[in-house]
């Protein structure tokens, strides 16, 4: 979606268009994502570990009755581990990508950035050369700091999305919490043995 906007840079009006981004920090690095992808930002609640889940999935949380998988963005982006992992500033950004609600753990959410679309620069080719880094949408200079724009719709690979779907199926995404969680537990029990065999 955004890519299309960026590709048609010839259009002056597009260039001047103000974009709103949600800026967040992991370690010392600053990142941003389009505000329209964000459903909500919450403080990190209790994260329930999911047995037999992929490495990058931290667990699931209960957001007002909805069970949402949570991903540690630091691990996903292969950023170095910081010493103080869980701080009071730690946040979960709830993102809605193609109607799939997923939480991403970040170190802190800094602010809402308003920038002109023209100030976003393409990342260097050497960065985007690998398959994995296609989710870097652009780089933007904000008051001397470099902010990396991420496209969350590309952040997960196909196989990872498949795994996430399995979890979504397992845990469910709508319905009342109590009934759903009971049902999901029942499903887990039913589905675990074949899963173990698969693994």
């Amino acid at each position: 979606m955004k890519k299309q906007q960026l590709s048609s840079v010839s259009n002056q009006a597009e260039k001047n268009k103000i974009l709103q981004l949600v800026g967040f920090i992991i370690g010392k690095d600053r990142f941003a994502l389009d505000i329209l992808m964000v459903q909500e930002i919450i403080r990190s609640p209790v994260i329930t570990n999911l047995p037999n889940s992929p490495v990058f999935i931290e667990g699931v949380i209960n957001l007002r009755g909805n069970i949402i998988p949570v991903i540690e963005l630091r691990k996903k982006l292969n950023l170095p581990d910081s010493k103080d992992k869980k701080t009071a500033d730690s946040r979960i950004i709830i993102v809605n990508v193609d109607n799939r609600v997923t939480g991403f753990i970040v170190d802190s959410v800094s602010e809402i950035l308003k920038i002109q679309a023209g100030t976003i620069e393409q990342p260097p080719d050497i960065v985007t050369a690998g398959m994995d880094s296609q989710y870097i949408e652009g780089v933007c200079d904000i008051q001397g700091d470099l902010v990396i724009l991420l496209d969350f719709s590309k952040i997960l690979r196909v196989d990872e999305i498949k795994k996430l779907k399995t979890i979504s199926k397992t845990t469910g995404n709508e319905g009342s919490l109590k009934a759903e969680s009971q049902r999901s537990k029942a499903r887990e029990r039913l589905q675990c043995p074949p899963c173990i065999n698969d693994c």
């Binding site: 709103q20 949600v22 505000i35 329209l36 964000v38 930002i41 919450i42 403080r43 959410v109």
Partner: protein, 749 residues
């Protein structure tokens, strides 16, 4: 010793030793073993070569011995053949014909003409035949029967027994038969000829003899006539080297590479030389490479040997066509029947050729090992130089930094951390230790400055106290003087009581003066009491102030705790607000154009939340600072409280003393008043007056004593105050010194 070396050297020495000691040991063992091996090899090859030489010598000797035996037997049978031939033809006898001979002595070559009866074989005269083509009886027949042997018929020339060759098949060099020579009965040396002697004795002589041109084994047997008279001699001879085989066998003998067997006779003539090249040469006077007549030596040694005995000789020898002189070992034997000196010789270096190979390879091996050892030593030194450097450098760096910190007292330095191993951890620990020290010094510095300030304050107050006490002392002194004056006055009163009687009015005046001065004194004591009280009050006020300060500080601490709690709540609220603002902004963005106004509000709320969060953080920091200061203040006020307590103690004693003075003065005042009252009756009661005045004098003395003690007390107070000033001064001095000491340490960049 190893302890005193530095770490790097230690590592280098240990590492190099570990790699070098085994190599050196192997090299030494190898060299020693090789030496032993070479010695054994040398001994063995020497022994083997000796045995071989012995065997070869013995072999030659045995060949000669066998040959000799064989020859003798053959000769005997040939002799019989010759005798048989003679008897077949009719025996040998002397005829009647006379034959003339020019006989030649075979030794002296002296010619003697002789007339002899012709010697016959059967009826045939032997004839004086020198020509080979003419047949001669017996000798030619014998030669045809026994190939290669010589035979001769001798005729007895005279009674003494000289034997003349009359028929022979021995050929002279000119191709004629060797007749006409005779063997004299007496040799030129004067001894009887052994051949003649044996034959004349009727026996057969066998032995070696040189005939014409070669050595022969010969046999001589007597010829008898019919009367059994010896009329001649029959000779048969076989050349010693009858078969070339014997000679070839000896020539074929090879020892080692170039060693060979040779045969000399006792005159030093070469009979069988190497490859037969020098046969017949006389080498009697040959010298070896060092100039000795070694052949003479050799022959002398050999001829002294018994049959079958072996001797050895060694001499330096240079063969023809060779450039180097080599030591030659020879084994000697002597075969007497043939006068053969048999020698078998070999060069020593050839004997030891195999050993030399071993020696060469051993020395090469030792050289290679030594080279390897040296290279390994150098390599290990090189390697350990770097390895030890890598290990020791961080430690050395750390120790240098610590030394620098100790020397320069600079806590801003840090030890570089280069690795994560034990050394790196040590460097980390050192850094944290330095950090701790730095922090501690900062605190000490600050406290010392504070203590100095407070001590200055206390000192100021103590100085003021001392001044007051000084004033009090002065007053006590003036009081004392007044009392003394009063005592004097009372003395005067007593002294002049009689005059007083007369001058009652003037006395009354005097009493008034006394009363006045009493009043003054009373006043001054009251004042000094007042001052004492003031000091006490001031001290108490100080104590109170200190106590209040402590209380206030506690209050501050309590309220700061409360504030901290409140601020935590505020921070929490601010964070939540911030989050709320973020979410509001997201919602506003999603609302699009409609949400723009709301977005502005959300932004503002967010900013507000951030500002309040920052303010809360600031306040928390300030509160933390103030709590720390309060703690320090509490400690300092405690110190000043102690100082004030001391001052109060001194002031209390002072006041008590003054109160005592005051009491005494009051008593005096009442007495004086009574004096005043009774002055009116003084004229009437002069005696009483006298008594009273003397009493007065006594009391004034007491008073003087009391005032003196008061002065003492005041002086003590001054002293006490001085001590306080001194203490505080010292405290100030100490804290200043501490501050300076701390300042030496550089703990702030």
């Amino acid at each position: 010793m190893l302890k005193n070396l530095n770490l790097r050297l230690k590592l280098m020495i240990i590492g190099s030793l570990l790699s070098i000691v085994p190599l050196v040991t192997i090299t030494v063992i190898d060299i020693v073993e090789n030496r032993q091996l070479i010695k054994v090899a040398k001994d063995n090859s020497n022994r083997l070569s000796f045995e071989e030489l012995n065997n070869k010598a013995k072999m030659v000797y045995d060949i000669a011995d066998t040959q000799h035996e064989l020859l003798v037997q053959t000769l005997e049978s040939y002799l019989k053949v010759a005798q048989e031939v003679a008897s077949n033809n009719g025996g040998i006898s002397t005829g009647t014909r006379t034959v003339y001979w020019d006989t030649v002595n075979q030794y002296t070559k002296q010619i003697t003409p002789v007339k002899l009866p012709a010697l016959l074989n059967g009826d045939t005269w032997f004839g004086q035949t020198t020509r080979m083509d003419k047949n001669v009886p017996i000798v030619d027949k014998v030669q045809s029967l026994c190939n290669g042997i010589t035979s001769t018929v001798f005729q007895r020339m005279n009674k003494s027994g000289d034997m003349l060759r009359v028929a022979t098949n021995v050929v002279k060099k000119d191709g004629t038969r060797a007749i006409g020579t005779y063997i004299p009965q007496i040799n030129p040396d004067g001894k009887p000829n052994p051949v003649i002697a044996t034959v004349l004795a009727g026996k057969t002589y066998t032995g070696r003899a040189f005939v014409v041109n070669a050595w022969y084994i010969t046999a001589y047997t007597p010829i008898y006539d019919a009367k059994r008279q010896i009329i001649g001699t029959l000779y048969v001879g076989i050349p010693i080297e009858a078969t070339q085989k014997l000679r070839q066998d000896i020539l074929d003998i090879k020892v080692c590479k170039t060693g060979y067997a040779y045969v000399l006779n006792s005159k030093g003539e070469y009979l069988i030389s190497q490859d037969g090249k020098r046969d017949g040469e006389n080498i009697w006077d040959a010298k070896d490479a060092s100039g000795n007549y070694f052949i003479q030596n050799l022959v002398k040694k050999a001829t002294a040997l018994k049959p079958g005995e072996i001797d050895s000789i060694s001499y330096p020898w240079k063969n023809q066509g060779e450039t180097k002189t080599r030591l030659k070992n020879s084994k000697l034997m002597y075969f007497a029947p043939w006068d053969w000196v048999i020698g078998v010789g070999a060069y020593k270096d050839e004997v030891l050729a195999g050993t030399r190979h071993i020696e060469e390879s051993a020395s090469q091996g030792a050289l290679i090992l030594t080279l390897v050892t040296i290279i390994a030593f150098a390599a290990s030194l090189f390697t350990w130089f770097f390895v030890s450097g890598t290990i020791a450098r961080p430690i050395v760096n750390a120790s240098e930094i610590v030394h620098k910190i100790a020397a320069e007292r600079d806590f801003t330095l840090t030890v570089p951390v280069e690795s994560r191993d034990e050394i790196g951890r040590m460097a980390n620990e050192l850094n944290s230790l330095i950090e701790q020290l730095k922090t501690a010094f900062r605190v000490v510095d600050k406290s010392a400055v504070n203590v100095e300030e407070h001590a200055a304050d206390v000192s100021k107050r103590a100085t003021a106290n001392r001044e007051r006490a000084g004033m009090q002392q002065e007053r006590a002194k003036s009081m004392q003087e007044t009392i003394k004056e009063m005592g004097t006055t009372a003395g005067e009163v007593a002294q002049f009581s009689n005059a007083q009687k007369e001058s009652a009015s003037s006395s009354g005046e005097n009493v008034d003066v006394l009363v006045n001065s009493m009043g003054k004194m009373n006043q001054s004591t009251q004042k000094s009491t007042e001052y004492g009280q003031q000091v006490l009050e001031a001290a108490k006020e100080g104590a109170n102030a200190v106590a209040e300060t402590v209380k206030g500080m506690q209050n501050i601490a309590e309220s700061s705790d409360q504030i901290t709690e409140i601020i935590a709540v505020i921070t929490e609220i601010a964070e939540k607000t911030d989050l709320l603002a973020l979410n509001a902004a997201i919602e506003a963005a999603r609302a699009g154009e409609h949400g723009k106004g709301f977005a502005v509000v959300a932004d503002e709320v967010g900013k507000l939340a951030q500002r309040s969060s920052e303010a809360a953080k600031e306040i928390t920091k300030h509160i933390r600072d103030s709590v720390a200061r309060v703690k320090e203040g509490t400690r300092l006020t405690d110190d000043s409280r102690l100082a004030l307590e001391k001052i109060m103690e001194g002031g209390q004693t002072n006041v008590e003393a003054i109160a005592e003075i005051s009491k005494a003065v009051a008593a005096m005042v009442s007495d004086t008043h009574r004096i005043g009252d009774e002055m009116k009756d003084v004229i009437n009661r002069s005696d009483e007056m006298e008594k009273l005045t003397s009493l007065q004098a006594g009391r004034s003395k007491n008073l003087v004593e009391l005032s003196e003690s008061s002065a003492d007390v005041a002086a003590k107070t001054v002293e006490g105050a001085g001590a306080v000033v001194d203490i505080t001064g010292e405290l100030q001095h100490l804290s200043r010194a501490l501050t300076e000491e701390v300042k030496i340490f550089k703990h702030e960049a």
